[in-house]
Amino acid sequence: MADLSVDFCGIKSPNPFWLASAPPTNTGAQIMRAFDAGWGGAVWKTLGNPIVNVSSRFGGIDYGSTRMMGLNNIELITDRPLDVNLREITEVKKRYPKHVVIASLMVETKDEWREIIQKAEDAGADGLELNFGCPHGMCERGMGSAVGNEPKVLEEIARWAVSFAKTPVIIKLTPNVSDIVEPGEAVLRSGAHAISLINTIKSIMGVDLERMIPLPRVGKYSTNGGYCGPAVKPIALHLLSQLTRHPTIKALPMSGIGGIGTWRDAAEFIALGATTVQVCTAVMHYGYRIVEDMIEGLSDFLDDRGMKSVNELRGLAIGQYQEWGDLDLSFRVVADVNEEKCIGCQLCYVACMDGAHQCIHLPGRTEAEARKAGHLHLPAHVPERAVKAVALANAGQLGPRAVPGTRIPFVDEDECIGCNLCSLVCPVAGCITMKELDSGKPVETWNDRIQKGTNLVPGGLDATERARRF
């Protein structure tokens, strides 16, 4: 079994799986149950000056029959007295000395930061996470994402914290910025030891159309919340990779957050450079128990690839993220429909017709019928396999599903631009795959063309054409 233990800027954790600062880390009793279930660390629900919360607090967004594809909340930091939280931190660390407890902190003044850092460290926290990410409520009071949005303010407060702290200082960033590199560089300048990202995204979860009140509703009104859950994972992966591929910021350990619920999600964040991952929504949905699958799945994955430690996985995918200008223009894939798996729903056909490049056709049509359906370019010839598939399917000999042959689309490979769309909408796994074709051309990027001066594509604005000529 692969070694899952990690060292996060000096903090040793039995595994990379931490609970994010959120309702699942509200109390010591909860965190101890989480550690029993297998979580390696927990970032305590943010400590600060006392606040008052509203009811209700969460909003969810479903996709079809899938519940809570995304979640948002308008809950503030902890609403429990500071001394109670500190006492519980001490108790948890006493009973679970090998597990990681990070104190998430959010206060305003320099004196407050000094005091709360000292109290959190005295209580036994292994490290501090400065909450510069919360995008609802607290930011209106000049804290949370209000700090994360202003690199100068972020840098200054982070410097205070570094000067007060004896334990590592982690800066939790907000994704509600136009360029994550700016706050990332501010963290680096401040001397803070690590970054965690992403905090939640500003959001309105929907509108109650009966009451005409956005969601979640508090009496007659609502406000924006912080969005999280599976739906935000792609955003989080991108922002993480923006930092882990940055020439200087990449030196900081990263704790990846955003839509992580399975071992596979975690592996993806680690492959893009995260040392630890933090989880909230999936636990709010299914409970602490999900960590069993995360530990086992990640461990088996590493074993399968002959990796002895999770550290070998870290960052393996970073180098394969390049600017668009460095992508190979000669690389070519085309869609390939497996006639035996096709169930004849024709979702690929309509997606290609209306949403892509009109290169998927239905067999058995006359040219007039095809033109009437909207095809402007017709295949030079119907591929033999499509003809055969039609004959077989009509004879009931194509696979177990007895789909009429005329319902099974075929791809005009000469016209297919390899966009993936048909394979993305196809409901049957492995039915439409993207087949790699040898384009016969050497690797060439847009940046290569710029260098060679061959980046002239005919058919633009006259002004551009004129400018190019001179």
């Binding site: 399975t262 128990r289 069993e292 699958d293 086992e296 799945g297 088996d300 049957v428 796994a429």
Partner: protein
């Protein structure tokens, strides 16, 4: 005695069971993912409670959904080492799936059996070594009978570091799991493949001795005495199963054309010499699940097969869902009739004479009728394997001939002997045998390791 631990576990070709198609074939990955994602991942789930081996069903299904198929298999096999076959042969309709919360919601329950079959088969095909072996303990356990209880027990004992020697009278291991399962659920070679996997898992710690009879007295060739087992081994596990099919006890019963149900099904599954040439009409006597399997199998093979039961349909001990499925495939049912004679012409079977019955007994004076038949299958239960059990001093039997055990440990009256499966429970499912084997293994292990 030959050691068969490295034998080639295969059945000969040309068996009747090969003509059957599986009603619930192995899911492909996409089917499994779709079904797994339908599971709500309930907490303290009723499907777990309903499973005799207490498999953590929501956890294994969640793992299937995340692509952690190997982890799913571990979750299953930790509780039920024969999870691959149980995924196929369990009456899930009355166990896990029957308890699924979707039922209360009037939606189709999760196909737990099919997901279990998928998870274990896929994981094993990819990488058979799913568990770490404990170091050798130097202890050896004898297991009598190679049915599911003994195979599961041998596997678990070996994983815990013990050696296991399994003695089986027949030349094919697996008991009813190999030789008694309806072929539209699972074929014999699948059961043998699972046994081969258990043997491989244990890395030579399990020895299978086939064609060896355990006897009370002095042992002859291909025999071993109970006393020798007690003397030579650190513990003994009795997984005896049941004995021969019970007879009706009516005139004309002895002779060709009348066979016991388990004997018939065994030949259908393992003996290429069995044909149904000339059999157009068959009658299956009984109302239990073995009777239902037999009538369903015959009907599927194109025989006009009718079940004769001495009580009403409502009182049948067989599962209602199995009767419904048998009927779909053409099986018939005659209720409230009791057999009183096997009618023969010049020795040849021609009919089963039945009388109207009330509360299971023939009604005196009522006119009997002859049900024409070329084959009569008797499925009214099995005798107990009492002789072998009694060969072990201190092992007690209850009035029904079942081996008496302490339910908490499955230890018998002999402190060195444990028991489980049909010989203890009187004849239940494979999953019950495995559940009992698990209890026994935990007790044997702690005894051998000196815990008590």
């Amino acid at each position: 005695m030959d050691s068969h631990s490295s034998m080639n576990l295969r059945l000969p070709p040309g068996r009747l069971e090969e003509r059957f198609h599986e009603k619930k074939p192995l899911y492909d990955e996409h089917e499994a993912l779709t079904e797994a994602n339908r599971c709500l991942y309930c907490v303290d789930a009723p499907c777990v409670t309903a499973c005799p081996t207490k498999i953590d069903v929501p956890t294994f299904i969640h793992k299937v959904a995340t692509g952690n198929v190997r982890g799913a298999a571990r979750t299953i096999l930790t509780e039920n080492l024969l999870g691959e076959s149980c995924g196929q042969v369990c009456p899930v309709e009355t166990l896990c799936a029957g308890a699924c919360v979707y039922n209360a919601w009037e939606r189709p329950p999760i196909q737990i059996g099919r997901l279990q079959h998928y998870a274990v088969t896929t994981a094993i095909a990819n990488k058979p070594d799913l568990f770490e072996l404990a170091p050798e303990t130097g202890k050896t356990v004898a297991l009598v009978g190679a049915g599911p209880a003994s195979i599961a027990a041998a596997g678990w004992l070996a994983l815990r570091g013990h050696r296991a020697v399994v003695f089986e009278k027949k030349t094919i291991p697996g008991g009813l799991n190999t030789l008694g399962i309806a072929p539209y659920k699972m074929k014999g070679d699948a059961a043998l493949k699972e046994i081969a996997w258990v043997l491989g898992l244990a890395k030579g710690r399990i020895e299978l001795r086939l064609g060896v009879d355990v006897v009370a007295g002095a042992a002859g060739a291909e025999e071993v005495s109970a006393a020798a087992l007690l003397a030579d081994y650190d513990a003994v596990f009795l997984g005896l199963g049941l004995g021969a099919d019970s007879a009706m006890g009516v005139p004309g019963e002895d002779g060709e054309g009348v066979v016991g149900a388990t004997a018939f099904i065994e030949r259908l599954k393992a003996d290429p010499a069995l044909t149904l040439d000339g059999v157009q009409r068959a009658i299956v006597v009984g109302g239990g699940n073995t009777a239902l399997d037999a009538v369903h199998e015959l009907a599927s093979l194109g025989v006009a097969a009718t079940m004769v039961y001495r009580r009403s349909e409502a009182k049948m001990p067989g599962y209602a869902h199995e009767l419904a499925a048998a009927r779909v495939d053409g099986a018939g049912l005659v209720e409230d009739r009791a057999p009183i004679e096997v009618v023969r012409a010049s020795g040849k079977l021609v009919a089963l004479r039945v009388a109207p019955a009330k509360d299971g007994k023939p009604v005196g004076g009522a006119a009997p009728e002859d049900l024409p038949a070329d084959l009569v299958i008797v499925a009214i239960g099995q005798n107990r394997a009492t002789q072998i059990a009694q060969a072990f001093a201190g092992v007690a039997l209850d009035p029904k001939g079942r081996v008496v055990v302490d339910p908490a440990t499955h230890r018998t009256g002999n402190a060195k002997v444990w028991s489980g499966g049909d010989c203890v429970n009187g004849g239940k499912e494979v999953v019950n045998a495995v559940a009992e084997a698990k209890v026994a293994v935990l007790a044997i292990h702690s005894t051998l390791m000196g815990a008590n």
